[in-house]
């Protein structure tokens, strides 16, 4: 009976491990990186309406304690040089069928103590079979010693639409410390479904227009940014 329990536990453990490895691979990470994706219980996909209701300050450029960081699609860097990027003229990025890479990365410029409130992504996806995906990860090196990068994929979502122009909003609401001294916060975009053989083939009509981060600046009262991540 005990053997049966051990066997069942082992099978469940293997299944969980396999699913984690698969998920990280789909995010362009590797086995050994942290976090099963998505694991962000307090985060939810928000419709623009919900978003508007919670944070509408339209027309106001400078909001005390808050700022925006944004990047165009073209400003993302390919994970590997096999990425053959196309364009859609207004600094939007596409992935051509000759690509042998489908991930592009961009740093979200934060300061120590900043809280990453929202991430919004604009793009175009009229493809009923393939989607654009967003991943967020933290990559840290040891402060004063040699060592591998400590990578944590803390967020991942398919921004699934086939309606044409779209906006995707999500709410990480996480504070970060040790920015620049040891850690970087990165956004990663995947063109199409994960396909290590055909890459962007079939997803060349998907465009990344822009990524915007809404950042709440840390308050000295909350030295650890409410919750140190």
């Amino acid at each position: 009976m005990d053997y049966l329990k051990v066997l069942i536990f082992t099978i469940i453990f293997c299944l969980i491990s396999a699913s984690q490895a698969m998920t990280l691979e789909e995010a362009g990470g590797k086995v050994g990186d942290k976090r099963i994706i998505p694991e962000f219980p307090e985060s939810k996909l928000m419709t623009p309406k919900e978003y508007k209701e919670t944070t509408d300050t339209k027309g106001v450029i400078l909001i005390p304690g808050k700022r925006f960081y944004s990047a165009t699609g073209v400003d993302f860097d390919p994970r590997k040089s096999g990425f053959d990027g196309g364009y859609a003229n207004y600094a939007a990025r596409t992935c051509t069928s000759s690509s042998t890479e489908q991930f592009i990365d961009h740093e979200i410029k934060l300061l120590n103590g900043d809280i990453l409130s929202y991430i919004d992504v604009w793009g175009r996806d009229s493809n009923v079979n393939e989607n654009l995906s967003l991943f967020l990860y933290k990559s840290c090196s040891p402060y004063l010693s040699a060592g591998a990068l400590d990578v944590d994929f803390f967020h991942g979502n398919e921004m699934s639409t086939s309606t044409g122009d779209f906006i995707f909003s999500t709410k990480p609401n996480k504070g970060f410390s040790n920015i620049e001294s040891t850690c970087k916060i990165m956004a990663r975009i995947r063109f199409g479904d994960y396909d290590p053989v055909n890459y962007c083939d079939g997803a060349t009509d998907i465009r990344l227009y822009r990524l915007r981060a809404e950042i709440r600046e840390g308050d000295l009262i909350f030295e650890n940014s409410l919750e140190e991540y």
Binding site: P48, R67, Y69, A91, T96
Partner: protein, 224 residues
Amino acid sequence: MKLSKLFTTLIFLSLWLYQNALCKDSIQSNYNKPILVTDVNEKLEAGFSEDDILYKLTNKPTPPGEQLQNTKGASSLVHVGYLGVESQPRTSNFTYSTLDGAGDIFRATGGSETFRDLLLELPDGHTFSWVRAWGEDSDEDDELTFFVFSTCLPDLSAGSPDSTQLGTFSSSGSAGEWSGSVNVGGVTINNRLCNYWVRTRFDDVGSSLRLYKIRAELSVPVAY
């Protein structure tokens, strides 16, 4: 007595509101109304396609001249600079190399792409006045041409990007080391809605057309 105090307060309040309205008007008058670019060649030369919607800023107010002061310490000026190698190719087919290996780039033979795009990471609320570039142009027939754009999307809904050309300038002549600038109209930076970027067009291959650096000049907002 009470009535006179109330009257005085009302006068001060009216004066304050009037002054605020004047300030607001003077700030808003600096916002330019861009015109739609209908010349297909003008769009193609800037790396857009003929069907793209592109606006152009005209009748720009002249901001204070670029200031050649050392901006260490307290200053109302903010500069944001990038080396040529920090720009991104419009497509991956841009083949490039460097001569000095110090952030300078030139277009090398082999690629079909001629444009590189540089995202300007600018602070919210600041007044964006100038873009300056440095490079080398010792090519008699060809130039480096720069286009400064703002590209905006709806705040909280899906949409197609609208681009506005804030300014354009070229390296002229063939004297070698070169620098030029353009007035971009004193627009107020709004990262919530827009991105600001510079596109560089390399008209020819070879190290006679090199991009060293691009710099944006902004001033700190005085009042809101």
